[in-house]
Amino acid sequence: MGDFNFSYCVWIPLIPLFSFLILGLFGNKFKEKLTGILGTLALGIIFALSLYTAYEYFFVHGLVNGTYQKIIAINVTWLQFTDKLHINMGVLLDPISVMMLVVVTTVSFMVHLYSIGYMKGERGVERYFAFLSLFTFSMLGLVIATNIFQMYIFWELVGVSSYLLIGFYYQKPSAVAASKKAFIVTRFADLGFLIGILILSFITGTFDFITLTDPAGEAIHRGAEIGFMGMSVMTWAMLLIFMGGAGKSAMFPLHIWLPDAMEGPTPVSALIHAATMVVAGVYLVARLFPIFHFSAQPALNIIAYVGGFTSLFAAVIACTQLDIKRVLAFSTLSQIGYMMLALGVSGYGSHDGLGFMASNFHLFTHAMFKALLFLGAGAIIHAVHSNYMNEMGGLRKHLPITHATFLIACLTIAGLYPLSGFFSKDEILAAAFHKDKLLFAVEYCVAGLTAFYMFRLYFVVFWGKDTQYHHKPHEAPFTMTIPLMFLAIASVFAGFIPFSELVTSDSIPFEGEIDWMIAIPSIAVGLLGILIAMIMYRKENNYPARMAATLKYLYRWSFNKFYIDEIYLFITKKIIFRYIARPVAWFDRHMVDGTMNGIAGMTNVISFRIRGLQSGQLQKYGFVFITGALALALVFIYLWTK
């Protein structure tokens, strides 16, 4: 690392923060156009800064003695808990954080640029750009966190930015409900995260990532011998932390918020719910990977299976959805499942750590092509004013640029050589092959399904029947098409980045190669998926209907997303609201407060009864006095004579 000073990196999150404050406080005084330009400009600066940092880190100063260094560029104490435990705020640079810096700033910059065109004429554009800046700030703070509590802080902040942006169209009840759902589901997951942090920090006595994840260090091996319910305490801690990650990355069964989150503006879906925030869970697991590997293997296995299951589950649902954004949302779930699975099957160190590398690789390429898909979907929605693919068709003539870039993205996600999706997916399949044959088989199926549902979407929207539109659809303005083209180029060429020489589990570069024995069948499966989709959807025909009729139950369950939402509704509405909250409210009003009122009432009644004694009549007082005196006298005489 030498004498190079990375402390300028602190500006990377701070610039969006300032842009948030300026737009949030004074945005309503600016012209609409200015707010967009201001926000985009801020992002442009940090995009350049991040690329510069990546260059300096990966190619100039980062690699020392064959290992990428972990560089703490800046670190200040923010809050002191105990002598040992304190929250710092700082900047940590290592291969994964630098990679994430590039991912976040690239996508965010593109989305900002795109939004200038997309949000034109909407009410509250300044609010929109302010929230986007807030999100970018939080996400960058999360990425460069030096300790797990800093990460948790920004984790909550990205959660709230996501809440605000999903509910951007706040006058629409469905958007309000979706934003609420997203926040509460992820909050529930964060409860697990928080408790996990409490356990982890109690065992190891630190929040600091470098101390925690040093394989030779002492912290990582603590707590392995203390058992609790069949697993070590460390495993429990890591599982709970993973629960937080699963919430944010929408892993089954905490995935229900993500499809609904599509109520937000489409660029937001591209940025937050496809490329950056939803992969925070993957990033979290990658960040703590040494602990998972050395002290919590069972947790890692669970991650692999959760990831594998989610990828299959979501891919099946994606095949039947009609809302194009929902198809993409389930596709995102499925792809994140891939990344989780890759981490779960990964080992530690050079070739054993293939899964780790593949996961980050896929995170990178997925961010590019999924952002592209969402932005393309945005351009489509912008043109036809509908989300539903059964109201679309034949759009390739009207939207040539969108069509071309969308096709590239579809081919990339289907994993065709030499597009970037091929390389990263191939590494994941290779990693799974060496660890677990069952998961490997599942991933092959998912690869085929992915190609199928993406090309179903593609053919229905761009080919299919020639639909009559109210207005002739127009190609999007250049502020929207430039990001599309940029991301398309990135999707095509990102695969040639030698990831195995940059981002590895132990920060030591290794030679990566393509295992053609695995790659060729996977391309074949992809092509098969595309072929089936082409037969079924390129021209209007009755195959889809016959297919749905044949697989009646599967189709219905898939279409209804396996009724998971209904189960959640039952738990929240019926059990929590009706059987807990309402009785508590009743108990409080009638039992607790009733007792208090009862005491007061009793006092009232008693005083009312004895009030009559104080009548003010002398004769009555005299009578009572003499009677009493006589009675007492009798008692005393009785006692005395006894």
């Binding site: 802080i153 609420k180 926040f183």
Partner: protein, 502 residues
């Protein structure tokens, strides 16, 4: 004259000034000037305190002064502050300052209203700076009486009922408290010598265990009623919902804290053995109240009731953390008192302002207000996010300090209690977002909403100031945490010494 006494003199002079005022405008501005001076005094006190500490003055109470008042019983006017009371004084001055602006639109009997309000504040300030238990009690009683009048006269809804309920329950608490304090007095010199009410003197002696067993519940419950301890909290929802805005603010913001502060300073500090022995009972009660309050809030329809139950939950967390009896958790507890104080004052101020426009507090009868009154809407969202513990606001800092502190106990009982308390962060999110969703978001409910005016300058000032305070603490918490933490050292040492002996 010593510096701290100004905190009593200035409000009293303000009251006197208000008596001489001729019209509504003069009354308000006199109150504003008086409470601004008070705010400046409090800010100066914080800086002076930090400077003294930095200069190496390690005395337990700074700015300490002692005047004999009633020699026959050795009752003294003894004042002094440590980091905790400084934080409380600052909190009180912020809330009364913003409270004045929030009651700008009081229509009837303004003179009497502001006199009572400022008298109430005087009692609170006096309570926090006193070190002598008897004078402390005196100031406490001084705060309760104006409260009755304020709710009974300027309140809304079933105000007589609420005022009576509140006063009777608090008086019941006072009765227990008085017994407790007198008991402490008679045990203050077990080795012979002059009996005393002085907190510092009593803390130096060992109160016999039999007496502690009796006196600890007396004082703890006595103060606990004021601090809305489950199941003696029911005065609070009714009281809040009937009280005028500024009173709700002061009440939830400061008076609840007064109970917590007393429970900490008198019951736990003076009787650590009993705190250790009986603490678990109260720990169970407070753990219940944290979750119970949150669940209670989910189903309420009246904005003020929601906030009152939310206060039960948040304030439950304060006592919960105090009973954890380690430095981190207690530090969090005091920060939660400050944080919740400002936050809830903000809530009540906003509720008052919304009520002033829509003339209802039932959330089902409103909707889509964000569009028509954006300033108040945004402020309400900020208050809500702060309340559900968003980082960047004070609530997060306090809650996390509490949870990390509580987790330092290894036994299962404390662990389970901590997990239950942690779960409140989810339930809080549920009821906060429910209110925001129904009240502010969605389509504009009625056409006549479009004629509503957004916040006026005094409302903006009041709300903006409170938001700045919450965000300030949330962004830079270290100074506050350290200021409180240093003053906790003697208390924690005393509590730990006991557990060590055992």
């Amino acid at each position: 004259m010593d510096y701290l006494t100004y905190f009593i003199i200035v409000p009293l002079l303000t009251v006197f000034g208000i008596v001489l005022c001729k019209n509504d405008k003069q009354v308000k501005w006199t109150a504003v000037i008086g409470m601004s001076i008070q705010l400046i005094l409090a800010a100066a006190l914080v800086f002076m305190y930090l400077a003294e500490r930095k200069a190496g003055n390690m005395a337990e109470f700074l700015f300490y002064h002692d005047y004999m008042w009633y020699p026959a019983l050795n009752i003294r006017y003894t004042i002094g502050v440590d980091g905790i009371s400084v934080a409380m004084v600052a909190l009180t001055s912020v809330i009364i300052f913003t409270g004045i602006f929030a009651s700008w639109e009081v229509t009837n009997l303004h003179k009497e209203f502001f006199i009572s309000l400022i008298l109430l504040a005087t009692g609170v300030f006096g309570f926090f700076i006193c070190v002598d238990l008897f004078t402390m009690f005196l100031f406490y009683e001084l705060a309760v009486i104006p409260m009755y009048l304020l709710i009974g006269i300027w309140g809304t809804g079933p105000k007589e009922y609420s005022a009576m309920k509140l006063t009777l329950m608090l008086m019941g608490g006072s009765a227990l408290l008085l017994v407790g304090l007198i008991g402490l007095y008679f045990n203050s010199a077990p080795g012979g010598g002059a009996l005393t009410f002085n907190l510092i003197e009593i803390s130096k002696v060992q109160i016999p265990m039999e007496a502690q067993r009796f006196l600890f519940p007396m004082t703890f419950v006595g103060f606990g009623i004021l601090g809305a301890l489950f199941p003696l909290h029911t005065w609070s929802p009714d009281g809040h919902s009937s009280a005028p805005t500024a009173v709700s603010m002061l009440h939830a913001g400061v008076l609840l804290k007064l109970g917590r502060y007393g429970a900490f300073r008198v019951a736990m500090f003076l009787m650590p053995e009993a705190a250790h022995e009986l603490g678990w009972i109260f720990l169970i009660l407070t753990t219940i109240s944290v979750v119970y309050g949150a669940f209670g809030a989910i189903q309420q329809k009246d904005l003020k009731y929601i906030n009152a139950y939310s206060s039960v939950s948040h304030c439950g967390l304060v006592l919960f953390a105090l009973l954890m009896m380690n430095k981190t958790a207690m530090d969090g507890a005091i920060m939660q008192m400050v944080s919740h104080g400002i936050m809830t004052a903000l809530f009540f101020a906003l509720i008052g302002m919304i009520y002033g426009r829509t003339h209802t507090r039932i959330i089902d009868e409103m909707g889509g207000l964000m569009r028509v009154i954006p300033f108040l809407g945004v402020a309400y969202v900020i208050a809500g996010l702060a309340s559900l513990g968003l980082p960047g606001f004070s609530g997060f800092v306090a809650e996390m300090t509490i949870f990390v502190g509580s987790w330092q106990h290894v036994d299962t009982f404390h662990r389970v209690a901590t997990i239950i308390a942690c779960s409140s962060i989810v339930i809080t999110a549920v009821y906060i977002l429910r209110v925001i969703g129904i009240l502010l978001l969605g389509p504009v409910r009625f056409d006549w909403y479009n004629q509503l005016t957004d916040a006026r300058w005094y409302e903006k000032l009041s709300v903006g100031f409170l938001i700045v305070c919450i965000a300030g603490i949330g962004i830079a918490p270290l100074w506050l945490s350290n200021m409180i933490g240093d003053s906790l050292v003697p208390v924690v040492e005393k509590l730990n010494m006991i557990s060590f002996i055992r």
